[in-house]
């Protein structure tokens, strides 16, 4: 328990929160980096996934990009980018690495969400005379919303985690508190930094879970649906089960 009380003592020392190496500054960097990268990721991945899903093309690409993303070590890509000529451009290697690893969950989930919209519903919408664009905006997107949000939520947590690793090659963010602790053999600081990072990750996860719940366009109707009931209760994302 010595480590926990040590970490608590570290966290309650005001001096550790102030200044360029302080927690507030590092937290600001971390949140800023996460927000920027998530925005870039959505701007790139969502249109591609939605259009591919609407047209029903490129399924293999959308699924395989996720598997590839898992096989490539984040740490290796971060170091490779920092050592590459890009490394001269400040934060850019970090941002590129973060976006690269955030794209797969957004792309795959949004694509699967679009494809899993009941075909009968889409056919009915067409039969009612809706144009392709109307079907997309009024039928497919609202129904695909939960999975699209799941993808963004997964990506957000992924970005928080990757941004932590960015501290190893000298990037900013809360990971710096941990690496600085390692460099000084200061275990309380390492644990304190880890607690901060874990808390941030859980907060981001919770934030998106709440957002997902309250922004769902068909949340009132979904409550009584039974088809997904079992999987919902267990919270099992389909992408883990079907392969």
């Amino acid at each position: 328990m010595g480590a926990v009380s040590g970490a608590f003592a570290w966290l309650t020392t005001g001096a550790h929160w102030a200044g360029g190496d302080g927690v507030w500054h590092r937290l600001g960097e971390h949140v800023y980096l996460t927000a920027v990268c998530l925005a870039i990721t959505c701007a790139i991945a969502l249109p591609v996934a939605v259009v591919l899903g609407h047209l029903g093309r490129g399924g293999a690409l959308a699924i395989n990009v996720s598997n590839a993303g898992r096989a490539v070590p984040t740490f290796a890509v971060l170091v490779l980018l920092v050592l590459s000529p890009l490394g001269r451009y400040g934060q850019w290697p970090t941002i590129i690495a973060l976006v690269l690893f955030a794209i797969p969950p957004v792309l795959t989930n949004a694509y699967v969400g679009m494809r899993e919209v009941d075909r009968n519903v889409v056919e009915s919408a067409r039969g009612m005379g809706m144009t392709g664009r109307q079907v997309l905006v009024r039928v497919e997107l609202p129904l695909a919303f939960p999975l699209i949000m799941t993808g963004i939520r997964t990506a957000a947590v992924q970005v928080v985690a990757t941004a932590t690793l960015a501290a190893l090659p000298g990037g900013g963010g809360l990971g710096r508190v941990i690496t600085a602790g390692f460099n000084r053999y200061d275990t309380p600081q390492v644990v304190a930094g880890a607690l901060l990072v874990a808390a941030l990750a859980l907060l981001v996860e919770a934030f998106f879970a709440v957002l997902q719940r309250f922004a769902d366009p068909s949340r009132h109707r979904r409550r009584n649906r039974n088809a997904l009931g079992n999987q919902r209760i267990l919270g099992i994302p389909k992408r883990w089960v079907t392969q």
């Binding site: 898992r70 070590p73 290796a76 490779l80 932590t164 190893l168 990750a201 267990l234």
Partner: protein
Amino acid sequence: MAGQDCLAANDWICGEYVRSRSQELTDATLQHLWITGVSVGMGLLVAFPLALIARRWRPAAGPVLGFTTILYTIPSLAMYSLLLPVFGVSASVVVTGLVLYSLTILVRNIVAGLESVPEDVREAARGMGYGPLRLLFGVELPLALPAVMAGLRIATVSAVSLTTVGAIVGYGGLGNLIYEGMNSLFKAQVLTASAICVAMAVAADVLLLGVQRLLTPWTRAGRRKAVA
């Protein structure tokens, strides 16, 4: 010698590096393999009873799955750092972290696999006089195998990738070489170690897919019949 030049020039791809440091590369690869293997193996051993508890005793399902999800949310660097005071600087830090991560995927997939067994099949087995244990190992598990193996593949590939972060405590397998190469700006070392790492993940995935095919011959027999 041309080979020496690429070391001096700090090229990305350098045959001389692979030749002169083959021992170092082999050691790192072996460390990577055993850390990943032990972690996923232990993960499977822990996940199996947890999944059975979650299935048998409904009130436990929510907390078990919720807890493993929370574990999965914690970034790897933070996870290893939190385990540092428990184990000190040792391979146990990395192995424990990886076991905890693999639990999320394995427990979910084992539960999902067991849930996917049709009730009729269970009923039929019971009618044939199967006891609970024989039902589980003789009927339910084989039928749950595709989902379990899918989880095992994801857990293994993730573990190969996450092992590299273990370099922070010096037990990261190929990650150690990446970490060293990062500090000394040694490009060939970083690229070679990264490439071996990706190759290892792909090889493990293909290997497990092969195992799955061998263990579930009926899935292919059925498909072939359906086509014919």
